[in-house]
């Protein structure tokens, strides 16, 4: 009898422990919601037009409390054919002047890939309600026989520079899909800050 009671007690404890495990899992918090207009409201801080559904959400943990997210899509043609674009609250570099920041940024942009970059276009643009700078480059890796086309757009949020960038990788003999750059432009042009940044509130 005593043994049976102990067995039942053990099962009860096990059930309680398992129930505890089940309740330990916190509900996954999604950082965004959709507005009735079809835009995305990201953490009540940004609003933008999302890309078509075949683009996957990409979120980078930068470890410095700064926001860095974007979207990516695998393209036909196999490796390395992929396109991704992102918003970056703290693009490489430090200065608050666009031209200087461009130089600092490209010292480290895709640094690990060891590419030979060529600037295709540099122009002043309007972005997030102010003046900005858009730079389009092409990088080539003759050893791996890969290439990348990228556009980087620098804008201002308060006193600080923020960045948007798109990269499209291809094999050296592949052709770029410029329609992805149009989707990126729509994303950037629709991008709005819904509140002041942390730095602006200091």
């Amino acid at each position: 009898m005593k043994r049976k009671a102990l067995t039942i007690l053990s099962f009860l404890l096990l059930a309680a422990w398992l129930a505890g495990c089940a309740t330990m899992e916190p509900p996954k918090k999604v950082p965004y919601r959709l507005s009735p207009q079809g835009t995305v409201i990201w953490e009540d801080e940004f609003e933008f037009m999302p890309p078509p559904p075949d683009w996957k959400l990409l979120r980078v943990e930068v470890g410095e409390n700064d926001i860095n997210f974007g979207f990516m899509k695998s393209d036909p043609g196999g490796y390395p054919s992929v396109t991704s674009f992102a918003y970056d609250e703290e693009p490489f570099g430090c200065t608050t002047k666009f031209e200087q920041r461009e130089k600092e940024f490209f010292k480290r942009f895709l640094f690990n890939a060891i590419l030979q970059f060529q600037i295709l276009e540099r122009k002043k643009v309007q972005v997030v309600g102010g003046e900005g700078l858009a730079v389009t480059v092409e990088g080539k890796d003759p050893v791996k026989k890969e290439k990348v086309r990228a556009t980087v757009i620098f804008g201002k949020r308060g006193e600080r520079i923020v960045g948007f960038y798109i990269t499209q990788w291809r094999p050296m003999d592949g052709s770029y899909d410029l329609s992805a750059f149009e989707i990126f432009d729509k994303f950037v042009n629709s991008f709005k800050f819904l509140k002041k940044s942390f730095y602006e509130t200091l």
Binding site: G63, E64, N65, E90, F92, G93, C94, T95, E104, K107, E159, R160, F198, Y199, L202
Partner: protein, 111 residues
């Protein structure tokens, strides 16, 4: 380090100054600063006495542990955090200290 460089104008606003300390030699630090466009001072402490005084020198290892220390105008350590700097936390702390007058050079750090 780049985060500190981006925040220099805010440190200025809060009457704070930043400097880095490492066991690397001066030439290495010069190249490091140049590669990241850092303009604030980096101190070369090859003999490690600063690391020992801040308790970031692991025994038998040639590098310091990563630690952020905030010292007020009177020389009192007010903030210590290990690991990568939490820049927002640092800024909020400096803002609070500045409001309390602990960083104000005109008061000599006295609130």
């Amino acid at each position: 380090m780049e985060g500190h460089q981006r925040n220099l104008y805010l440190y200025e606003r809060f009457n704070a100054r930043v400097l880095g300390v490492s066991r690397d030699d001066i030439i290495t630090l010069k190249y490091f600063a140049k590669s990241l466009d850092l303009t604030f001072p980096l101190l070369s402490n090859v003999t490690a006495f600063l690391g020992v005084s801040m308790d970031v020198q692991p025994e038998g290892r040639p590098i310091f542990g990563r630690r952020t220390v905030i010292i007020d105008k009177t020389g009192i350590i007010r903030y210590v955090r290990d690991g990568s700097p939490d820049y927002k936390d640092i800024l909020l702390f400096l803002k609070k200290m500045n409001q309390e007058g602990r960083l104000d050079p005109t008061t000599g750090g006295k609130p």
